[in-house]
């Protein structure tokens, strides 16, 4: 397996990763709209390699309170995956699923947290399913873990994983709308060998 460095990802690879991000996020949104029983529109996701120093600012500052869902990935590829959404947007989704019965304000009750976890579960599950179908690789997610905290603190987890290879993080930002505009972020954190496997399974020379 060749040495793949994120710093040297060519435009071609970028296109492939962007397309994977696009399809994955699309599937995730379809699953979400079925769950909420309403139409969800989305923009073409942006796939970016961002410097650690810019990561926090991108999501509205390092202290922006976000909901983070993290799960491990095993099977043909190994690593982990994270989904992030701003706290208020997360609360909005939870309120929809709970038929408008959610509590006032932006913080979550225990029951709302478990509803949020379910949303995260469905979104990440749909994302990984489409990745698995496209690449024909077996991907088994672990049960997700959820936390509500500052963006910087949540992002330290994937940043540390990427930090082993460089100073950048591969981020897929998808913007979707139901009544309000919501930014969701996907971060796929495979080990570097798994990146090679994903790309070669799609016929890209590695």
């Amino acid at each position: 397996m060749g040495e793949l460095s994120l710093e040297h990802v060519t435009d071609n690879y970028y296109d492939v990763l962007r397309e994977l991000g696009n399809i994955g996020a699309g599937n995730a949104m379809t699953a979400l709209s079925q769950m909420m029983q309403c139409k969800v529109d989305m923009k073409v996701p942006q796939v970016r390699l961002v410097d650690f120093s810019e990561v926090g600012a991108l999501m509205g500052g390092e202290e922006q309170i976000m909901v983070g869902v993290l799960l491990g990935v095993e099977g043909d590829i190994t690593g982990s995956m994270m989904f992030l959404i701003e706290q208020g947007s997360g609360k909005h989704l939870v309120n929809k699923i709970m038929m408008g019965m959610a509590s006032e304000g932006e913080t979550f009750t225990d029951m709302e947290l478990s509803a949020m976890q379910e949303v995260g579960n469905i979104i990440t599950g749909a994302y990984l399913n489409s990745l698995s179908t496209l690449t024909n690789l077996k991907i088994f997610p672990s049960p997700p873990a959820l936390t509500v905290d500052m963006a910087g603190a949540i992002l330290s987890v994937p940043a540390i994983e990427f930090g082993i290879y460089g100073d950048k993080l591969l981020l897929i930002q998808s913007q979707f709308f139901d009544e309000i505009s919501i930014d969701g972020y996907f971060i796929l954190i495979p080990d570097i060998e798994s990146y090679s496997k994903i790309l070669s399974s799609l016929g890209m020379p590695v």
């Binding site: 993290l70 500052m150 330290s156």
Partner: protein
Amino acid sequence: MSEIIKVGMADLKTCVSPNGVTTLGLGSCVGIAIRDPVTKVGGLAHIMLPDSTAIRNSYLNIAKFADTGIAELVRQMEALGAKRSRMVAKIAGGATMFQVQGRVASSMQVGDRNVEATIQKLNELRIPILARDTGANYGRTVIFFPETGDYHIRAVGRAETVI
């Protein structure tokens, strides 16, 4: 007017009183604040990983690792007139943000390893650790003032503390 200098992820900065240094949203990373109480020279390192020797190309960003990051912070402080023999440290961060089950769990314990490596390096440099607020499962924003040595720690849904 004093200024608060911002330190990013995998970054380090020095300052001289009355200025301070801050880093926002520490998760599993560790924020190491050091000062020389005589010259009031201080600094803050935001390290991400415990050990530079375990990683290729680690020289590209020495601020990223506990071992090289702390050594570099001390060196820069000495260049500003601080004396190593007078330096004292306070540390915060090293949280475990997620409780994930299964195989990935061990790599997610990096917060604890960051704290251990930080303590080890500070001991090696004979810099005493006066206070620490490490571990647990939540993020921290820290602000350090070399004038007093006060290390302010803020977290979501918790009262601000000073160590």
